[in-house]
């Protein structure tokens, strides 16, 4: 599962994608909408994506993890559209024989996502809005 979706994400469905009998660990990351920006209360977020390219870049991240850690089971699901405070934005799950490689690869995946995947978020607060840079 490497996808951009407009539907709410169930983290358990994503982690289930990377479970195997030969694995001892699944490490997952759940990113969610923070209710504050400095001292300002956030009302909601709006996410935009260059969807075809974004899904290809998610595939690239999975391929990079395969090259670096020899892990094949990476699932990434990122939501777009309007998201309310507390809702899940992204879930990343990595399954591995041992925990250390799953931790490393999961951190790598979220760092790379922020670096190369064409997704943008706009914060909307009482009296203003701005695309996050």
């Amino acid at each position: 599962m490497l996808e951009i979706t407009e539907e709410p994400i169930d983290p358990e469905l994503v982690t289930n994608e990377v479970r195997r009998d030969t694995y001892g660990a699944v490490v997952s990351f759940v990113g969610m909408v923070r209710g504050y920006r400095g001292g300002e209360r956030i009302l909601y977020l709006e996410h935009d994506a260059y969807k075809d390219m974004a899904e290809r870049k998610l595939r690239q991240i999975a391929d990079e993890i395969h090259t670096r850690w020899n892990l094949e089971d990476v699932a990434i699901c990122h939501r777009i559209g309007r998201l309310e405070v507390g809702e899940t934005i992204v879930v990343i799950a990595v399954g591995a024989p041992h925990r250390w490689e799953a931790f490393e690869a999961c951190q790598y995946a979220i760092d790379r996502l922020k670096e190369i995947v064409p997704i943008w978020k706009k914060e909307v607060w009482d009296g203003g809005e701005a695309w996050v840079k």
């Binding site: 990113g31 996410h47 935009d48 994506a49 260059y50 075809d52 390219m53 974004a54 290809r56 990122h78 934005i89 992204v90 979220i110 996502l113 922020k114 670096e115 190369i116 995947v117 064409p118 997704i119 943008w120 978020k121 706009k122 695309w131 996050v132 840079k133």
Partner: protein, 81 residues
């Protein structure tokens, strides 16, 4: 030759469109197209240091040589995750 421009997020709002078809000369690069866009949409000038560029969904250098039918996208600063 014709190319297709796609806009997202900040640039979509600045330009007011998701897509534009543009007639350009042979040998045109994304950097040339950006300068042309900045004339039509002066608010883009402030963004000139921050974009990356993709052609047909892959990152390329600003001096990449465009070809007929290419889909060109200027990528504003990313903020996924």
């Amino acid at each position: 030759m014709k190319i297709e421009l796609r806009f997202f997020a900040l640039y979509r709002e600045t330009v007011g469109k998701e897509q534009i078809e543009m007639e350009v000369k042979e040998g045109t690069t994304p950097a040339h197209v950006w300068r042309e866009l900045c004339q039509d949409f002066p608010k883009l000038v402030d963004q000139s240091d921050t974009w990356k560029v993709a052609v047909n969904g892959e990152y390329v250098d600003p001096d990449f040589t465009l070809r007929e039918g290419d889909e060109l996208t200027f990528i504003p600063p990313l903020s996924g995750g």
